[in-house]
């Protein structure tokens, strides 16, 4: 178990190193001279050369890569070309927003996926069950930009205006204001995972309902709600939670589109800003942080899954 953990952590670091290399390589390959891009095409060659020296662009790539990686390791992402400010503080607040959004989405996934899966399994074979199964297939085939647009059309001002479609500004205007701005983006981010977790939950609950120990509990004369709460759910939760954990990082990956739809001030939109403005330090920083969050999320997910399911633990050692 410990050896598995150690090798898994080591592996994560190796992946992070590879990711940092790829991210840096990408910005090296950006078309066009960066200095010319900043100064405009009518800059003199001397001005361009001066700026290149200032930005350190005249040094060899490997040297700049080393500087960049050691900076990143200590939380220094350099300065934004466009905003002329250090990236790290902006990145930190944007990342906090994105993590909050993902956290709320996770709550929706747990509520939606687990509850729907259980309810449909208990009504296995009925019309309710078939409807949910069909909706779940459609739910997993919707991209975020479709879910988000449909949600805005339904609740964000189209059919009814219950929730604001954009303009999250933190909790400075009160708690409800903050929460209300989080609901639609979080729902969008949660839909695919909730449908997926719901499908798994449904399958396992149906399996557990057929097991010997559930029959024994029923024969013992326990009321049905007790059978379900004490015997079915605890056993059925493990696979669903395991899958959920393993997809923690995946949820964070969907954040770019969701933030764009709802004009949410998170790390995904910061990255899109970087792309639009050709601000390569911003692109590097955002790509690195999103990829790192994804890799770390997967690591946490794997470890949590191990802790939850003893069978996996044995297989891992």
């Amino acid at each position: 178990m410990l050896r598995y953990l150690a090798s898994r952590i080591l592996y994560t670091f190796a992946i992070l190193a590879a990711v940092s290399f790829l991210v840096f390589a990408v910005t090296e390959l950006l078309p066009g001279n960066v200095a010319t891009m900043i100064l405009g095409t009518d800059a003199t060659p001397e001005e361009v050369a001066n700026l290149e020296r200032l930005l350190g662009l005249d040094r060899p790539s490997w040297e700049r890569y080393a500087t960049w990686v050691s900076g990143v390791a200590t939380g220094d992402f350099g300065d934004s070309l466009r905003m002329q400010r250090p990236i790290a503080p902006i990145l930190a607040s944007r990342l906090a927003n994105s993590l909050l959004l993902t956290g709320v989405a996770l709550i929706f996934v747990i509520l939606g996926g687990l509850v729907l899966g259980t309810v449909t399994a208990l009504n296995h074979g009925t019309r309710l069950d078939r409807t949910f199964s069909a909706v779940a297939v459609i739910g997993t085939s919707l991209p975020e930009f479709v879910t988000g647009t449909v949600l805005v059309l339904l609740f964000g001002g189209g059919l009814m205006r219950i929730l604001p479609p954009s303009g999250y500004e933190g909790f400075s205007h009160g708690i409800w204001d903050g929460i209300s701005h989080l609901i639609l983006p979080a729902l969008t981010l949660a839909t695919i995972m909730a449908a997926y977790v719901g499908r798994i939950m449904r399958t396992t609950v149906i399996d557990v309902l057929k097991s010997e120990y559930v029959r024994a509990a029923r024969l013992k004369g326990l009321p049905e709600w007790r059978v379900i709460l004490r015997h079915v759910l605890p056993n059925a939760l493990v696979p669903a939670v395991t899958v959920l954990c393993m997809n923690l990082g995946w949820m964070f990956g969907g954040i770019v589109v969701v933030e764009e739809i709802f004009v949410f001030p998170g790390i995904g939109r910061m990255m899109l800003f970087g792309i639009a403005e050709r601000d390569w330090p911003v692109i590097q920083a955002c790509a690195m942080v999103i990829a790192a969050a994804y890799v770390l999320g997967n690591l946490i997910g794997d470890v949590l899954a191990l802790l939850l399911d003893p069978r996996l633990r044995e297989a891992a050692t």
Partner: protein
């Protein structure tokens, strides 16, 4: 990403439900999804013949018209006919969908088969490379490729193809591995057949079933990812528009003119759902060893 490989229904009951014993072409889900897919393909193929207006023709006297007999799907903010734009968008959407899957197969088929056939170091090198590609969130990896390559249709196909090729490789490799040590492979080796012959003539045919399921499912995901890039403005460039870009164009006025968003959404949802349902249905059949 593990999403997309789970069975929809049926596998949890232990006994084979009645509807699955019917031949495939009488399975209502298969027929329904197949029909929807065929309609989409026909609309895309016949697009230039059936659209009522040129898709880029603007008319400033008829902007944001609701659906009417003249404009079935209404018009957008430049007065362009939405029905024409949605149908032409289908052509683009299917083009990058099929293009990306072809790209996936181009990389994934040889990589997966070679990995399974040779095993050992070759297998390790190929699969660890794929692992690194898969350690990026799909959207981020595609974004990075599109940043380098620049936004256009060809690069979009390449980006989506590279993002998804590790998954195709895994599927092909897993399918080939199930027969890798069978007697008929050993027989072919004993006959002195070349490795290339064995891979193409012995391994590949055994993997076809899994490959067909993979094509259906991957096509759905490729279309979703490609459309998401277009939504972000990093793929196809205006005035051409796939369904992702159409939804993006609808953004600023969709509360006043919801039809500009609803129709492209309807089209992409039906197309992708039908692909996923087809993939799931065929997959269940394959697991029972009965493709009718």
């Amino acid at each position: 990403m593990t999403i997309g490989t789970v069975d929809v229904a049926g596998t949890d009951t232990g006994v084979v439900p009645v509807h699955m014993r019917r031949p495939l072409w009488r399975d209502p889900v298969f027929v329904g999804a197949g029909t929807v897919l065929l309609i989409h393909v026909f609309l895309a193929l016949l697009a230039p013949l059936i659209i009522p207006y040129p898709p880029d023709q603007m008319s400033f006297s008829a902007t944001l018209q609701p659906p009417s007999l003249e404009h079935w799907f209404g018009t957008d903010r430049y007065g362009r006919d939405l029905l024409s734009r949605v149908i032409m968008g289908g052509q683009l959407t299917l083009a990058f969908g099929f293009g990306s899957v072809a790209m996936c197969l181009l990389i994934g088929l040889p990589a997966g088969l070679i990995s399974a056939y040779y095993g050992g170091l070759v297998d390790q090198v190929i699969m660890r490379t794929m692992d690194i590609l898969m350690s990026f969130p799909t959207l981020l990896l595609g974004l990075l490729i599109l940043i380098i390559a620049g936004p256009d249709l060809g690069n979009l196909i390449i980006a989506v193809g590279i993002v998804y090729c590790p998954r195709t490789t895994r599927v092909v490799r897993a399918a080939a591995l199930t027969v890798r040590h069978s007697a008929f492979i050993e027989a072919a080796q004993a006959r002195g057949e070349s490795s290339a012959y064995i891979i193409v003539r012995e391994l590949l045919p055994c993997a076809w079933g899994a490959i067909i399921v993979e094509i259906c499912i991957r096509l759905g995901y490729a279309i979703l990812l490609g459309a998401s890039f277009n939504y972000l403005g990093l793929g196809v460039q205006p005035p051409a528009a796939d369904w992702g870009l159409l939804v993006h164009e609808a953004r600023s006025q969709m509360l006043r003119a919801p039809w500009t968003a609803i129709f492209p959404i309807l089209f992409i949802t039906t197309l992708v759902s039908s692909l996923h349902l087809l993939g799931d249905t065929i997959d269940e059949r394959l697991k029972e060893g009965d493709v009718g």
